[in-house]
Symmetry: C2
Subunit: 456 residues, 2 copies
């Protein structure tokens, strides 16, 4: 049976597959920082060249931002659209990394061997699990088990500004029977998962301007309004004492958790103490009346992701600054309307800005939550294929992160998406010392080989 | 009469005096940033060499921080201790400067000719007014009109950590009949002033730590406590709706304004609208029940001088950061006890930090307010000398800035201080594009020549 041969080839080819991934990880494709524009293009070009080696006709597709990579390979059976992103998060604070983020290495840790590098887990390592599964199928059988379209984006970490226009312009080419997205985590070390609920994301930047220049707090402190005072006062009211977000109308469209889903989630035996303890915390900080797991998978949040104002260098400077700013994001669920929440947030801020100060907003993307149609037969085929590879049965779960592409595939292409990933909660994505377990990479490749076989 | 000859020499020597000041301004003596340690020493050495040219035997005096400069010159009459500081503020944000901050130039502006450079007003330009007055006396008469001790510090912009120990160790050498401090402003363009009330300063840095690493707000947003949320919530409560500081006991020791002083201040015709309008503001933001002038001269304040947390670069990063920090300063008046307020502030913060988070504090100096003994005869002698030089009569005023050295001279040396300066409110000290009016420099030199004559 060819699946067994494909799996055996994957096992034998793992060192070479790892070295190919290292080549991609060495490219610092930080999409949010304009200084790395050329590196993003270089990562896209690397993918085009690598796809060519497995018989996939792929090309770069320019956008106003970083290019897309699209490749096609014919095959019998259903048409599968595979999505991953080749861009990575910034690496600061660089001094907290134990090694160069773009000099990947295998490291032996207490919990096994890991691939250490920025992007190893999010998302280069994950997207390469699928490419390597296809490589093994191609090498072993001379063809792919089904028709596949490869679609790699380079702006996922910077709000995907080109994604929807690109999907609209190329809808006929990209529409498929099912989409596969590899950008999520396992449920547990031995338990794979298919994500069926994803939170949406709204990103906003707020800047308060008080005096028209930086002032000396001795001369002006007292009468002159300090924009940091204004900003902290507003953002300090973003949550009430029970952890609820105070922006008017914020909870419109937030559904109650389905009792059946809640009991399946309860059966997963999630351990909030261990989850928070792993990062040095002990108390769930979100809405008091919801469990930690519900808070992550099914409740909306507001977070201040960055704040800056005045003098923040060494020592002290008694400046009364002209400006202060913050980046705020909202995770959204159910039918929450990102654009209505943006409007309400901006109005709520404006209402609290003193007459003397100005406020400006910058839009950093807005996408609603996604809930997948698990009655599509591909879901159960994939779940069984995953369960065959891993020690524990695969679970349908929610996910706290936002992968707006799943919603866009549905709304623009009318294509349902399955989110299957092999990352772990301790991968430190978006943080220093990001890693991807070698076991995630290896079993991930094997999982896709099985899923392609099952879907075909 | 030799005063007239001295004044004429000052007028003739102004271009050369300006060039000497430029030499000092070219040295980037930023005391708060360790990278500029050698430059601070270089500025001190420049002063020693310059004092030698006017017959003052001066030397560098090492401290654990930046060196002091002390020089003596004999003379008849009272012993005068002159103080200035040769260190300057940091220059960031550098992109808001119209020229290199350490490449001084004369510029013609709508309000006259100015010297543009970091430190031109605070305090190199001011301290050189006194040195140039002495130079003219020395050149014209071969001696100084009275016994003078020159005392220059290099840590004024970084909390003066070495000052009090140095004063204690050298009290016999530095004790004088009166101290002159040149680090304050004119009351108005044509109205000189002697400051008789100075606010004190307490500097504190607060850092909140939540999770033990930076987290992805998708995975952890909700259950994991965000330290920026904690920090903004606390600092957002630092003032109440009426602009009063909420730290318990903060107003202990704040005196009511003396009715006599209030009526003298009222007579100055201060224009709060014009004052705030000059920096793009219109409403006094401090305690609602006090006038803007009272807020600056006689009321205590709390200001957030800097805040930093999470991702603050270009674009967006959905990080839930491990830490957030702020620099907070308090301007103090009357008998407010800086150490008691530090304790109260720290307890007030600690009470609001959730069980799950940690808080650490860093001390950035603490000094009480100063009220001068205006019945010392030197005050009226100096006031009359100033009134002779300027179009308007000199005023006794308060000052919002903190010049702790005046209090230390009194407590350690038992020497009363007169604060006389020629800076203007629009000098943009501590801000980009700092300047010092050439007229301030010129009349400042002439003022000191007159004051030395009057005191002698």
């Amino acid at each position: 049976m060819s699946l067994d041969a494909v799996l055996a080839r994957i096992d034998a080819d793992l060192p070479a597959a790892t070295e190919r991934l290292f080549e991609l990880l060495r490219i610092p494709s930080i999409s949010t920082d304009p200084a790395y524009k050329d590196e993003c293009r270089r990562a896209a070009e690397w993918l085009v060249a690598d796809l060519a080696t497995i018989g996939v006709e792929a090309g770069l597709r320019d956008t106003p931002g970083h290019p897309m990579v699209v490749g096609h390979v014919p095959g019998d059976g259903p048409h599968v659209l595979f999505y991953g992103h080749y861009d990575v998060q910034p690496v600061d604070p660089l001094e907290l990394w134990d090694r160069d983020p773009f000099d990947p290495a295998l490291e032996d840790t207490e919990s096994g061997r890991v691939i250490r590098a920025r992007g190893s887990s999010d998302d280069k390592g994950q997207l390469m699990t699928f490419v390597e599964a296809c490589r093994a199928w191609h090498a072993e059988t001379g063809r792919m088990p089904c028709r596949i379209t490869f679609f790699f984006e380079g702006e996922e970490e910077s709000g995907s500004p080109s994604l929807v226009p690109f999907l609209k312009e190329n809808a006929e080419e990209l529409r498929a029977d099912v989409a596969l997205i590899c950008d999520t985590t396992l449920y547990g070390t031995e338990t794979p998962a298919i994500v069926t609920m994803l939170r949406g994301l709204l990103g906003e930047e707020v800047e308060i301007t008080g005096p028209d220049r930086d002032l000396h707090s001795g001369f002006f402190g007292g009468p002159a309004m300090n924009p940091i005072r204004v900003l902290t006062r507003i953002l300090g009211n973003l949550h009430d004492d029970a952890g609820r977000v105070t922006v008017p109308g914020f909870y419109d469209g937030v559904p109650d958790l389905d009792p059946g889903l809640r009991s399946r989630w309860d059966a997963l035996g999630f351990d909030p103490t261990g989850f928070l303890g792993s990062v040095g915390l002990g108390l769930a900080a979100g809405e008091a009346e919801h469990s930690a797991l519900e808070q992550i998978w099914s409740r909306p949040t507001a977070e201040i992701n960055g704040i800056l104002g005045g003098y923040t260098g060494a020592g002290f400077k008694t400046v009364l600054p002209s400006r202060a700013s913050a980046k705020v994001s909202f995770r959204l669920v159910g039918d929450q309307d990102p654009l209505a929440i943006r409007d309400s947030f901006r109005a709520w801020v404006r209402d609290q800005v003193p007459e003397d100060c100005k406020v400006t907003f910058r839009d950093h993307g807005a996408s609603g939550a996604s809930v997948m149609a698990t009655d599509h037969p591909a879901f159960e085929q994939a779940r069984q294929a995953l369960s065959a590879e891993w020690p524990q049965e695969a679970a349908y779960i929610g996910a706290g992160g936002s992968i707006p592409v799943a919603g866009h595939f549905k709304s623009v292409l009318d294509t349902d998406a399955m989110l299957i990933g092999f990352a772990k909660d301790d991968d430190q994505i978006h943080s220093p010392n990001e890693k991807y377990d070698l076991d995630s990479f290896h079993r991930g490749i094997r999982s896709w080989a099985r899923i392609l076989d099952a879907l075909a």
